[in-house]
Amino acid sequence: MNKPHPYLPNSVPEIKETMLEDIGVKSIEDLYSDVPDELKFNRELDIPGPNSEAEVKRLISGQLEKNLTLRCPPFLGGGVWPHYVPAVVDEIVRRAEFLTSYTPYQPEMTQGMLQVIFEYQSLICELLGMEVANASMYDWATALGEAARMASRLNRRDVFIVPSLISSKRFSVLKSYTDPAGIKVVQVDYDKTTGQIDLEDLKDNMDSKVAGVYVENPSYLGFIEENVDAIAEIAHDSKALFVVGVDPTSLGLIKPPGEYGADLVIGEGQPLGNHMNFGGPLLGLFACRDDPRMMRQMPGRLIGVTDTMDGSRRGFTMTLQTREQHIRREKATSNICSNQALNAVASAAYLSLMGPSGFKELSEVVASRARYAMRRIGELSGVRAPLFNSFHFKEFTVKFNDKTVDEVHNNLLDKHLHGGLSLVEEFPELGESALYCVTEMHTKKDIDKLVAALGEALEE
């Protein structure tokens, strides 16, 4: 480059010369003398640039402008949901001391991050009604895969039971984690009227090979799984673990899994102060009981409280590291190293801002808005919403009797409204159905606009 790049302080020719002289070589090429000639790359990489900051900003902003501006947040959920992120949360995660730090391997110098993660673990425990939460997994789907493997390690069994009504994406990730471990995944049936897990089918599938029984609450299709006490009992009777996946925004209203016998709780922490970001970074929640056997089998990082050696101060540090790959290598509980720490920081700040009353209000407002939307959409002719006769939290199924989901949704898109997630390929037995999601971000006006647009689309 003709002039030194702002990111490269030592690209000034005189500095390079001095340094080469100090090292005792003539040129930078001498430092690459171990690279055989036939492996040397003899042209410049074909990547545009260098570009000035202003050029890059214009270029990328221009590309992003190609994303369609919607009139209101999409009515999409299923594992990532549009929720409001308070300004304070964004401010905290932009702090360079957090943002640009590595994993806190030097606890004396990184007490800040360690304390936040300890607080995050504690806040998640309060929310889930559990006793131990780890510092994060990549997302809900990988947390599910790790939970199945952990259950299998704990009781040395190799069948993992999941509902039939589960996200096909989450299911595919689960299989990526269970197949190589020789764990067989079995799906249990659901009641066609209510969507609830078919308890008889579950019982029929239970035997001494079942490592864990997994349910989601709310379920993938948005209704609350009500027979959780019975499911817990069925699982525990066979000495299997009861594993529950949650959308945490429901837990200001709905009973937490820790109160109905869950041994492991996982879920997606994205709605707790993290933007959707086209599906990443997300935040995999992972919690277990205060049981040393379980803690030793936990994947991922754990932060504990301790004192300084001189006893003068409280402090925080990574603990039980002998489970982790950097110590145990091939004997580690998981290969996870980088996790979603900054997203955990965001969630700690979010939960601290919300407080108990704010969080309860969030759940109630979300459920009320969703209920309003479900009622209004259900009143349209040619539509059935929801398909299942159960209590729904923020997502619900909408079935179009005389139109395809694609027809209706393209019509909505013409009006810059984004409908729900098509279920046509995931669950053909549900017909032309979609999963709609409503959160506190959707005002009455937004919902009314959607209902009017759906009405028009159905009449065309």
């Binding site: 790049h5 590309q63 360079a96 800040g112 006793e131 790959q325 407080g355």
Partner: protein, 509 residues
């Protein structure tokens, strides 16, 4: 030396802050007409499923929460706020501010992953282009952006190796992944997760793969080899083509751990060295921030013949129109709930365009210049040495040993690290790679001005002096950080382990 003192706020836990009924945020309430129209939602929740009492979250006002977390941030250390962050293997380079500005654009942050492709053309174009540039740097033919971290990328690579052998009907036979003893801990952990056995091979006197040892373990049972080049000693293994040949000859695949890619951008490419599968850590080589442990991003590149195994969805381009395809002949399926860590990917994309091909090459060159500068200034300082491959240049990092110091004074690598903290300098990686006794693994990156390098060198010399004159001082370090040495035994002991506030309260009523 710099007179450094880290902030210490004696900061309470967030649970110890605030008062009853305080709030830090208001959820937008229901519109009055909606409120009138709706029944009380809590009365509709099925019997037994209503939460009896709200979660015990803090009750604090907005400013209390903000100050709390800003205080905590001041008790932390980042590459953009510190002096130098020479943490080996982690590539703690400058995290450009413009990356953050663009990553905050609502057209990236407020997009749902299941939106119709017609509404996300901008995002898809960026992902498509970024993948193209990543393949150019690594010399691969195709790839995926789905892995959320380097280890996650390794797992994808292992799943592809598994799928490849299964496809050929050889999975039952090919049960072993070969890994050098200098490898990152994630390599064996990933191989085991993928259902393989690991076979460890020793390094030769230059720190490279011992060819004879390799020959003695390969065979029809070999599924593949995982390797980083330059290796974790910061040494480029000149035998790489030979190594690839040996593994390929027995039908194994070559996996490249891209943790050390920062040394070689535009200088040589894993794809040309004979690797079949590559991952890169965007949070190392391509400047995206580590965020105190994550999120990262670990895209994987493969040679054309492995493309059919890549995860879905796959991004297609047709005359400037982008789409996501879920059809893929032999896909391994999905490894992430959605498309990967998109926000960091945008930052890496910004970084690549800011530097261009030429700037990326120069970045690698300067990272190598910086590490050799440090190595040349410290290798003869009393107490330190530069083991393996004497006289050979280092790449982007160099591994010193403090064995002499440890033997002569009792001051160990760990103590050296802790003493550096007292000068406001982050510690190198210690005790890794495992093949170096008392290892201090130093990776300055190209971001550091000569002045920072000199400051680090001075600090290392000062620690050496102290080790021989006042070892107690070094062994008692750190003194100037937010807290001094911590009781790690207490933190892990079954009787005292405490992982939550609730437990803390029960132990300390």
């Amino acid at each position: 030396m710099r007179r450094f003192r880290q902030a210490y706020w004696d900061e309470p836990l967030i649970f110890e802050i605030g008062r009853e009924d305080r709030v830090g945020f208001h959820v937008s309430p229901l519109e009055p007409e909606l409120q009138d129209a709706m029944d009380d939602i809590s009365e509709l929740v099925p019997a037994g499923m209503l939460r009896a009492k709200p979660p015990e979250l803090p009750e604090a006002s907005e400013i209390e929460v903000l100050r709390h977390y800003i205080h905590l941030s001041q008790m932390n250390y980042g590459v953009n706020s510190g002096v130098i962050y020479p943490l080996g293997s982690c590539t703690m380079k400058y995290n450009p501010v413009i990356n953050e500005v663009l990553a905050g654009h609502p057209k990236i942050t407020e997009v749902h992953p299941d939106q119709e492709a017609t509404t996300t053309q901008g995002t898809l174009e960026i992902l498509y282009d970024l993948k193209k540039y990543f393949l150019e740097v690594t010399g691969m033919d195709d790839g995926t952006l789905q892995p959320a971290a380097g280890a996650h990328g390794e797992y994808v690579g292992i799943l592809i190796i598994r799928a490849y052998h299964m496809d050929r009907g050889e999975l039952d036979q090919r049960t072993e992944i070969i890994i050098p003893d200098s490898a990152h801990g994630t390599n064996p952990a990933s191989a085991i997760m993928g259902g393989f056995k690991t076979i460890e091979i020793p390094s030769n006197e230059d720190g490279g793969v011992d060819i004879e040892a390799l020959k003695s373990v390969v065979g029809p049972q070999t599924a593949g080899l995982m390797l980083t080049n330059p290796n974790t000693l910061g040494i480029f293994d000149s035998n790489i083509a030979k190594i690839a040949e040996i593994v390929h000859d027995v039908g194994g695949l070559m996996y490249y751990d891209g943790a050390n890619l920062n040394a070689i951008m535009g200088k040589c490419r894993p794809g040309d060295m004979g690797f079949d599968i590559v991952h890169s850590n965007l949070h190392k080589t391509f400047s995206t921030p580590h965020g105190g442990g994550g999120p990262g991003s670990g895209p994987v590149g493969v040679k054309a013949y492995l493309s059919k195994y890549l995860p879905v969805p796959y991004i297609n381009e047709d005359e400037g129109v982008y789409s996501l395809s879920w059809e893929r002949e032999k896909t391994i399926g999905k490894v992430h709930g959605y498309h990967g860590n998109i926000n960091p990917i945008l930052k890496a994309y910004t970084y690549m365009l800011t530097l261009g091909g030429e700037g990326l090459r120069e970045s690698s060159e300067l990272s190598v210049l910086n590490s050799n500068y440090i190595a040349s200034k410290l290798k003869d300082v009393r107490g330190y040495s530069l083991p393996y491959a004497e006289g050979k240049p280092r790449m982007h990092e160099a591994v010193l040993s403090a064995t002499n110091m440890s033997n002569e004074t009792g001051v160990r690598a760990l103590n050296v690290s802790k003493k550096l903290l007292d000068y406001g300098i982050h510690a190198p990686t210690t005790y890794f790679p495992l093949i170096v006794d008392e290892a201090l693994m130093i990776e300055p990156t190209e971001s550091e001005p000569l002045e920072s390098l000199d400051e680090f060198i001075e600090a290392m010399k000062k620690v050496s002096e102290l080790a021989y004159s006042d070892p107690e001082d070094v062994m008692g370090a750190p003194h100037n950080t937010a807290v001094g040495k911590l009781d790690e035994t207490r933190a892990a002991h079954p009787k005292t382990i405490c992982l939550s506030w609730r437990k803390y309260c029960s132990i300390n009523p």
